[in-house]
């Protein structure tokens, strides 16, 4: 397909992979400024909302976000006046507790990085801690269903996964809500965790969340972020390592419709040696003012020798009027790494593909479906959870149906 590639920021030599250059012809791609991950934030991370100035929209971390649609989550005017129905379905052996903010496990996986995340942290009343004991191998997923019933809510959830435990966690977001809630993962040594977060909100919802995963020695964390709904969805999946040998796989899939703003801001901090990270986010956009933002930051610190990292973002723009901002950013403080690379492409729906399929008798609508399904197929197949895969395919079909 006709792809446009942007110029990523690369701060040091020895990056593996091919580094695409060029300019965009479809949608829009912003190129990262020459600044470090830490210094381009307007304030250092903090648990206290008061430590962050109210954003005005020109800050690096806010420049893509429509602040006026955040329902006051960013300026302190949002009050916890809503309700959200939460159902936790946990297999035997899993404990679910409601704890106060003095619980030592809260905030251990990461610190809020912007005012909205800090507001969530400062505003929740009780946090939920879900614990999977060490060496517990669960065959059934832990399922959390959150259904918004209107109004604003704050929350905080901690998943504490013991050493060598294996678990699949699915959080499903539906309904109408203004929701700001952070999710922490404390992952024990050698544990294997798959986390699926589905944003299938009504088109009126606003959702902001910081996902912090602290990956133990030789542990594996795989996250699958799926965003279909919402008026504004702004997520921060963030990874750091508690020891060597950890692996993170971050997959994302979004389908941004007319008027929707869907923003995924990732940071992988390689702060331990011999860890791996692999990021693949793919999105399709259709309709007027559909706006997808993908920020992919990877920081390889001096002590992270033997790091192997790759991140990729691909966007398929199906109609005129949609906009993509895709900003990969790689910062390398040690040359002793296995590999580091990234790619970002944004392409228009390819009329030549359409012609080829139609020249074989396939009607236009079906040909479009084949191409879009094909675009997502490689990613969907990697998820490895048949029920999630089926739901995703059904959802993609429904989105495409709605568009024709």
């Amino acid at each position: 397909m006709a792809e446009a590639q942007n110029s990523p920021t690369l701060r040091s030599a020895r990056a593996g992979g091919s580094l695409p250059v060029g300019s965009t012809t479809a949608g829009s791609i912003a190129v990262a400024a020459e600044s470090t991950v830490a210094t381009r934030m307007s304030a250092p991370p903090s648990f206290d909302v008061a430590d962050f100035p109210v954003p005005h929209g020109r800050e690096e971390e806010w420049r893509f976000t429509p602040l006026e649609r955040l329902k006051g989550l960013h300026d302190g005017t949002a009050k916890a006046d809503g309700s959200i129905k939460a159902e936790v379905n946990a297999p035997d052996g899993v404990t679910v507790e409601s704890v106060g903010r003095d619980d030592a496990r809260i905030g251990k996986a990461g610190t809020p990085v912007d005012r909205v995340a800090a507001q969530a942290f400062s505003s929740f009343e009780k946090a939920t801690v879900v614990s999977i004991p060490k060496e517990t191998v669960l065959t059934e997923p832990v399922r959390v269903a959150l259904h918004g019933e209107g109004g604003t809510t704050f929350g905080h959830t901690v998943f504490e996964i013991g050493a060598f435990a294996e678990v699949v966690i699915v959080i499903d977001h539906t309904g109408d809500a203004v929701r700001s809630a952070n999710v922490d993962f404390l992952i024990g040594d050698g544990a294997k965790v798959t986390f699926v977060s589905v944003q299938d909100w009504d088109d009126t919802a606003v959702h902001c969340s910081q996902h912090n995963a602290l990956i133990g020695r030789d542990a594996t964390f795989r996250s699958v972020v799926v965003t279909f709904g919402g008026d504004v969805v702004r997520l921060h999946p963030r990874i750091s390592y508690a020891g060597p040998g950890g692996e993170a796989e971050l997959f994302g899939l979004y389908f941004t419709d007319a008027g929707q703003h869907q923003e995924h801001r990732l940071l992988v901090t390689h702060n331990a040696p011999h860890c791996k990270s692999n990021v693949v986010y793919k999105g399709a956009l259709q309709g007027d003012s559909a706006h997808a933002v993908w920020i992919g930051d990877v920081l390889i610190q001096a002590e992270a020798e033997g790091t192997d990292t790759y991140e990729m973002n691909r966007n398929l723009v199906l109609t005129d009027g949609a906009r993509v901002d895709s900003v990969p950013n790689l910062e390398i403080e040690t040359g002793e790494i296995v590999g580091a690379g990234h790619a970002s492409t944004t392409g228009r729906f390819d009329d030549e593909q359409l012609f080829y399929l139609m020249a074989r008798g396939i009607p236009e609508a079906e040909a479009r479906r084949l191409v879009v399904r094909g675009f997502f197929a490689e990613l969907v197949q990697q998820i490895g959870l048949p029920d999630v895969e089926e739901r995703l395919i059904a959802k993609i079909e429904a989105e495409l149906e709605a568009s024709v």
Binding site: A359, R360, G361, I362, E364, E366, A367, F376
Partner: protein, 254 residues
């Protein structure tokens, strides 16, 4: 008997300084069971004819008619033309990432035949056709044209030709870029379809080489956007000996 009739066809493309006429009045009748070779120098408009017949949006029809058994082909959308029985084997087949060959073939056959082929007979049909084209069975699980070699792309086009059984097959430089073995295999595939007597073939080529394997009933020399001369197979021998020079002098620019 299916008949494709092209009458005084004029076709333009958008160029930097306005529309540019490529086809300047093409007349041609192709009947089921016949094979017409269209030969000509680069830039003479051969491929434009092929893509215009298939309905590529890049080409604008500015005059003339094309009918298939009296039905107006130019009024049909690209997929309608294919379902009416017009097949274009492309010179540069397009990659479709994430769509497997087997899914593509079945979706296409379903569209063309009007119903999904019965799974068991379909699998056998595809397998046997692939064997005859010397294609590895693993090929069916690859994504359409993704990472295919030039020869694999052309075999894949002929595989579709054999499975879709069109009334009119347009082969656009199917021979280009093939080594002798691949050329023979691909030609055998085309000949199997021709031997059914059910297809009219429009074989577009720059070289006479493929005509050793696929014997045309008629040869047309294409120059400057129209057919400059028509004859039997002997015309190809003349072209082999003399080249296209006689047709390009004072005609097309480069």
């Amino acid at each position: 008997m299916a008949t494709l009739e092209i009458r005084d066809l004029h076709v333009s493309v958008e160029a930097e300084n306005g529309p540019r006429e490529i086809l300047k009045g093409v007349d041609l009748t192709v009947k089921q069971g016949e094979t017409h070779a269209i030969m000509g120098p680069n830039g003479s408009g051969k491929s434009t004819l092929a893509y215009s017949l298939a309905g590529h949006p890049k080409y604008t029809i500015t005059g003339g008619t094309v009918t298939l058994d009296g039905e107006d082909v130019l009024e049909m959308s690209v997929d309608e033309r294919a379902r009416a029985g017009v097949f274009l084997a492309m010179q540069y087949p397009v990659e479709v990432p994430g769509v497997s060959v087997s899914n593509f073939l079945r979706t296409s056959a379903t569209a063309i035949r009007g119903e999904a082929p019965k799974l068991r007979t379909w699998v056998k049909e595809v397998k046997e056709t692939m064997e005859r084209l010397q294609m590895d069975p693993a090929f069916a699980e690859r994504n359409v044209n993704e990472g295919f070699s030039g020869g694999e792309k052309k075999r894949h086009e002929i595989l579709q030709l054999e499975l879709l059984k069109p009334k009119i097959a347009i082969l656009d430089e199917t021979d280009s870029g093939l080594d002798v073995d691949a050329l023979r295999t691909v030609s055998e595939g085309v000949n199997r379809v021709r031997e059914t007597g059910e297809v009219g073939t429009l074989l577009i080529t720059h070289y006479t080489r493929i005509l050793r394997y696929i014997k045309p009933d008629f040869v047309h020399v294409f120059a400057n956007g129209r057919i400059a001369e028509s004859g039997g197979a002997e015309l190809a021998d003349k072209l082999e000996a003399e080249g296209y020079e006689a047709y390009t002098k004072g005609g097309v620019s480069a």
